[in-house]
Symmetry: C2
Subunit: 189 residues, 2 copies
């Protein structure tokens, strides 16, 4: 078994996203992706379960990462501050990882109802993980569910802003800014 | 063509939800629903497009209703206050309509991944409608998207609280309470 080759993984990812944008996600086969990357079909299978996995491998770990970051947040923090800290912590880890191709990836997802649905399912899992962890920290369940949904809204907003400005602030900063925007807009009189 | 019969519609709805809970949503046929209600198969088709429609007919109009309520909100209101006013307005209209069977309906949806997905798709449409209308009111697009997602979070929380307390406050009040909770939890220090 050859060892993990980050370059092969990157080539496959780039080839896949190029093809998704050229032909439409639904029309692309794994064989085409491997061919475009100049690699064997079975090499693809060493890095990705299927073509969806090319787009979601990083974010599939998001619920777990966020719950873990929330469990590490200082117990004296308010639930919202703990949530924002967790988002920023994960943003700092995730940013570098997902930065290449983030714009193209978002475009591929925006064009496919199937992928949008997958995205929604993923964010529902994120909200569930955040809500469970907030309850463990002592937040009342109804408020925990509300705050978990709000956490997802902040994540999506901060993430989109970060993708929109590839040479701007890092993902962690964008997430904190989105949280500050939320506080502003909700308390504005 | 016989005229619309609210009692027939109600009998079909009750029969459908009973069967969904007894047999599982996926296993129920339209023929079974009609039989349980003591009505003909073609009578079902006069009231509902398919079995999913029994659960979602009311909420399918939610995006349009909320956008319309938001467009009617006083232009001097802040975006968040306008949003909360729109939620409460729609809550006042929708509450009486969806109150019967609301607990059972939620249970049916909670048990079916397919229906949960449909629910998420519906809420994405709600967020889109709210975001579009907020932009029309002059809210900056990124903030509008954030606030639209927050509106969905408030709606879900208020709605669930209302379903949990069938003899408590009306839906409009529960939605306003959820919005107040959000403001509290986001500004707590």
């Amino acid at each position: 078994m050859p060892r993990w080759d980050a370059q092969a993984e990157e080539r496959l990812r780039t080839a896949a996203i190029e093809l998704f944008l050229e032909l439409g996600y639904e029309n692309v086969t794994v064989a085409q992706i491997a061919e475009r990357a100049g690699l064997a079909r079975r090499t693809f299978s060493r890095y990705f379960a299927d073509k969806r996995d090319v787009l979601f491998a990083d974010s599939d770990r998001l619920p777990e990462m966020l719950a873990e970051a929330l469990s590490r947040a200082d117990p004296v923090l308010t639930p919202f501050d703990a949530l924002v800290t967790a988002l920023a912590d994960v943003g700092a880890m995730l940013g570098a990882q997902v930065a290449p191709l983030a714009v193209q990836r978002r475009e591929v997802i925006a064009r496919s109802p199937e992928l949008q649905e997958r995205g929604r399912t993923k964010f529902a899992a994120v909200a569930h993980a955040l809500g469970t962890e907030l309850i463990r920290r002592g937040t009342e369940p109804t408020t925990a569910a509300l705050l978990a949904d709000v956490g997802v809204a902040v994540f999506r907003t901060g993430f989109n802003r970060w993708v929109d400005h590839p040479n701007g602030a890092g993902l962690a900063v964008c997430l904190r800014e989105a949280a500050a925007d939320l506080t502003d807009v909700v308390t504005q009189h």
